[in-house]
């Protein structure tokens, strides 16, 4: 044939390919503008541009101040472009966690901390964000608009939540930056730019862990910015080598890459040969060595078990595992780890599996197996944010842990409603936390009916309950020993429910009625509350706009043991009645009068002068 045809073919193919490519880029032109590409002018190849992204979505978090389905003070505000920054102040468009300071550790509902928590694990809350594109991160900036300084750890995950196919390898978390909580003196907005470590995998899933204990008020975050490179920068190989030798921090989590295998290797039994005698260790009484080992954290205990037969025996003694806190190791704990721990944990009484097991790390079968072996002595079980839980797990808990006294299912919002039916079988329950779960009315009534030993109950943000007055009257009838009750954001409780509560539970020391708009002071419910609950130490009436001087005076008269009071947002309380309260309640240490229009800054200054032991909080928007 003539040479025209091959040339025509080549030209046609070329033309076709060019058009297909143009068409593909044209279809992607509809990108949202939360995302832009900067051409870096370094000597790297022009294709390796730096990508700057705002968060696309908030996928998980442990708590927030706002209401479910709202956009005020909720964690979902952390996604997208900033709304408030660089302004400072208390704005609705920011992401706010539920707690701050040490106030929640000082109130009657505070639970005892687990011993043997590694000193560098101080995280109290977390939030996980996804970004559109996977990049090798070069920087993570957090825009904080109020009381900055809470972020203490930033992690990146290798899993891509948006990939249609399941991941090729097990996903892993790597710490990009971590530091102890430090006090930041200003309450002004700042762009927090910590120096992050380079990692050798691309990521679009970032996790922030916070600790608010040093803060004067709620921290508020506006946005998170992820800077990264699309292609692997050449430096990364070098830094990962350095990391292997980096023993500065006595935390094996830093040396990762094979972190999970590391942990599992430590946990698995190793064969030890016969060696020489153990010297003085043979002379020390068994209990004394046990007492010494009690001070070691779990990884150290596992490392020590590999040294000699005697210490191996000590480290495997179930008495070392009576209180087991696995929350600090959430990033690595999986079914295999539980299996290795099983043999030594038969006597465990306190078990903390909060934050663990997500993204397929722990399966229902693995958890069930562990619990069947180790659950019979369990007294306290912490399962906050454990999203692997399902109804079967709750059933197994109710069957294998008959003596359970404390159960924490905080923020397990994926648990189906019928799972909560099984909790009623745990008749010895003294503490139950159902914050932000989907528990329904019938299940809760059943729990209240059978768990008459309840002393601490948290129903904060339980949105599926239809009628809180019915719940309150059940509590008043059945839970006579109740000492603390959290009804934060319980939308429809009225004075009838409060009346039944106050008359039925005279031992109440703590009552959180924050953001319950259906309570009206004019019905006298707060006055009645004050008169019938003389043991009240903590009372939150946040954003109840009807709280008035009479209520404050009743509290001053009757609740002299009051330590914490929040009356944010009422226009009807004057400095006069507050003065009476401050004079009468000598133990008062927290008084939140934010957005109380009659209490201005001058009044607060005066009070600070006369009552120096009281922390008076007055938040502001601008």
């Amino acid at each position: 044939m003539s040479p025209v045809f091959p040339m025509l073919t080549v030209l046609t193919m070329f033309y076709y390919l060019c058009l297909r490519r143009r068409a593909r880029t044209a279809a992607r032109g509809e990108m949202t503008n939360s995302h832009r590409t900067i051409e870096s002018n370094s000597r790297t190849s022009p294709l390796n541009a730096e990508v700057v992204q705002y968060a696309k979505e908030v996928v998980d978090f442990s708590s927030h101040y706002g209401s479910e389905n709202s956009m005020s003070y909720t964690m979902w505000n952390l996604a997208g472009v900033p709304n408030v920054f660089p302004s400072s102040g208390d704005f609705t468009q920011t992401a706010v966690f539920r707690t701050y300071g040490t106030w929640w550790d000082q109130c009657p509902s505070a639970s005892l901390p687990f011993k043997r928590t590694p000193p560098d694990f101080q995280s109290q809350d977390y939030v996980e964000l996804t970004f559109e594109q996977q990049v090798y991160p070069t920087a993570v900036h957090v825009l904080e608009t109020y009381h900055p300084g809470a972020v203490i750890r930033i992690l990146a995950c290798s899993a891509n939540p948006y990939s249609p196919s399941p991941p090729a390898e097990v996903s892993r978390w790597e710490i990009l930056w971590s530091e102890r909580p430090t006090k930041v003196n200003a309450s002004q907005a700042r762009q927090f730019k910590p120096c992050i470590k380079q990692i050798n995998f691309p990521t679009n899933l970032i996790r922030l862990e916070v600790n608010s204990s040093l803060l004067d008020y709620y921290t508020e975050l506006d946005a998170v910015v992820l800077h990264g490179m699309k292609d692997k920068p050449l430096l990364s190989l070098k830094t990962s080598l350095i990391d292997m030798n980096d023993l500065e921090e006595d935390d094996y989590e830093e040396k990762d890459g094979c972190g999970m295998d590391n942990l599992n290797k430590k946990l698995s039994s190793t064969a030890l040969g016969e060696g020489p005698n153990n010297g003085y260790f043979d002379k020390l009484p068994y209990e004394l060595i046990q007492l010494i080992l009690n001070h070691l954290t779990l990884p150290d205990l596992c490392r020590l078990a590999q040294t000699c037969k005697l210490l191996n025996q000590h480290c495997y003694d179930p008495l070392q595992y009576i209180h087991l806190n696995l929350q600090p190791y959430w990033a690595k704990l999986n079914d295999t780890s539980l299996e290795f721990l099983q043999t030594r944990c038969t006597l465990v009484q306190w078990l903390n599996l909060s934050w663990t097991g997500n993204r397929g790390f722990i399966s229902v079968a693995g958890f069930s197996r562990f619990l069947k072996v180790c659950g019979s002595e369990l007294v306290r079980l912490e399962l906050s944010c454990s999203h692997f839980l399902n109804e079967t797990c709750l059933e197994i808990i109710s069957e294998t842990c008959p003596d359970l006294q404390e159960l924490n299912l905080s923020s397990c919002d994926k648990l189906p409603a019928q799972a909560f039916n099984h909790i009623a079988k745990l008749c010895g329950l003294k503490r139950l936390v159902l914050y932000r779960t989907k528990v329904e009315q019938t299940a809760l009534l059943s729990i209240l009916n059978f768990c008459s030993e309840l002393q601490h109950l948290s129903l904060g943000s339980c949105v599926m309950i239809e009628d809180y007055d019915v719940i309150a009257s059940m509590i008043g009838a059945k839970c006579k020993k109740l000492r603390t009750l959290d009804l934060w954001r319980c939308k429809n409780i009225t004075e009838n429910g409060i009346a039944e509560l106050a008359s039925g539970c005279p031992l109440l020391e703590e009552l959180d009625l924050g953001w319950c708009p259906t309570l009206q002071s004019s019905t006298g419910c707060f006055a009645k509350l004050a008169r019938q609950l003389p043991n009240l130490q903590k009372l939150f009436l946040t954003a109840n706009r009807s709280v008035c001087d009479t209520d404050i005076e009743e509290l001053a008269c009757n609740c002299t043991r009051l330590r914490q009071l929040d009356i944010l947002g009422t226009r009807m309380v004057s400095p006069g009645s507050l003065r009476k309260l401050l004079e009468s309640c000598k133990d008062l240490s927290l008084l939140d009068v934010s957005f109380c229009s009659q209490i201005d800054n001058r009044a607060v200054l005066e009070f600070n002068g006369s009552f120096p032991k009281v922390f008076i909080k007055k938040s502001f928007t601008q």
Partner: protein
């Protein structure tokens, strides 16, 4: 010969494929593409403050917003009820916060284009979630253009409203909602001691309508400061001067409408629609009605990014 045909087919496919893929957004013909609103606004507060509208602003006690989302263009006006001033409450705070919250809702996509009452309801609930104790009341009118279905969805609570003008004639208009004279339906947040006494309508009481729009339709959304001072024929006269759909000419027309209404409001001899209505109800009055005026003028056009 066989190869000639296959080459020919290849060429044809490449050429035709290229033609149809070069510009996917041109739309497959006249009404096939997405629609958008080109909006400009102007307003005057009662105390002679002039204002040029950018995106969201307050004119006296009135407030408005204009927001874009991938699926819809949304705008709204709210008329703060001035009576709160006598009780020490700034009426513009409620209307302004309501409009800003609606704007934020739209930008974050927390709405359904065919349910503008939902925007009002959600926005009103969000106002109650604010730590700051908001007080006040306002009317509200929300207009949503669904880009792909070419339908306009509206919700109106109170005496603000909108007009849709096509070919020099009014083809759709909102109805005023009044409890009694000069007391429109209103969303409100009252102090707890006055809960039963203060007029407070639910967002569900809003009137909702949906209809198709065409390219070139003019939508005028305004508070009662405009409609009480300018009758339809005057508004239509001004709108006739609108020649094209670019931002500057819309801006100019909006301004001239607002200015004219503002002048008429202070004319003591002019028989304004407000005065006419009062006369019909037995009150012998004449002249314009001094009030905050907010005008948002939009044209339905092809959507460009």
């Amino acid at each position: 010969m066989f190869s000639v045909l296959s080459y020919g087919r290849l060429v044809a496919r490449a050429v035709l494929g290229g033609l149809s893929q070069t510009d996917p957004r041109a739309g497959g013909g006249g009404g096939g593409g997405d629609y958008g609103l080109v909006t400009a606004g102007c307003g005057f507060g009662k105390d002679f403050r002039k204002g040029l509208l950018k995106k969201g602003a307050c004119y006296g006690d009135d407030a408005c917003f204009v927001a874009r989302h991938r699926s819809a263009d949304v705008l709204g006006v709210a008329d703060g009820v001035g009576g709160w001033r006598d009780y020490g409450v700034d009426p513009s705070q409620f209307s302004g916060t309501l409009m800003r919250t609606c704007e934020r809702l739209v930008k974050e996509g927390r709405f359904v284009p065919s349910n503008p009452i939902g925007i009002l309801t959600t926005s009103y609930c969000e106002l109650l979630q604010n730590k700051v104790p908001l007080l006040g009341s306002s009317t509200a009118c929300i207009v949503v253009l669904d880009r792909t279905s070419h339908r306009l969805h509206t919700a109106n609570l109170g005496d603000s409203g909108f007009l849709v003008v096509r070919g020099g004639e009014v083809v759709h208009r909102s109805d005023e909602q009044q409890h009694y004279f000069n007391t429109p339906f209103q969303l409100s947040i009252a102090p707890p001691e006055a809960e039963g006494v203060v007029l407070s309508d639910s967002p569900d009481a809003a009137d909702s309508t949906s209809f198709d729009v065409q390219l070139g339709d003019i939508i005028l959304t305004a508070t009662d400061g405009l409609f009480d001072n300018m009758p339809d024929y005057m508004i239509l006269q001004e709108l006739k001067k609108l020649k094209n759909s670019n931002y500057e000419s819309i801006q100019q027309t909006a301004r001239s409408i607002a200015e004219q209404a503002h002048e008429l409001a202070y004319d003591p001899n002019y028989m304004s629609p407000f005065a006419q209505f009062a006369c019909d109800n037995g009150l012998n009055v004449r002249g314009g009605k001094p009030d905050d005026i907010t005008v948002l003028l939009s044209i339905v056009a092809e959507y460009t990014d």
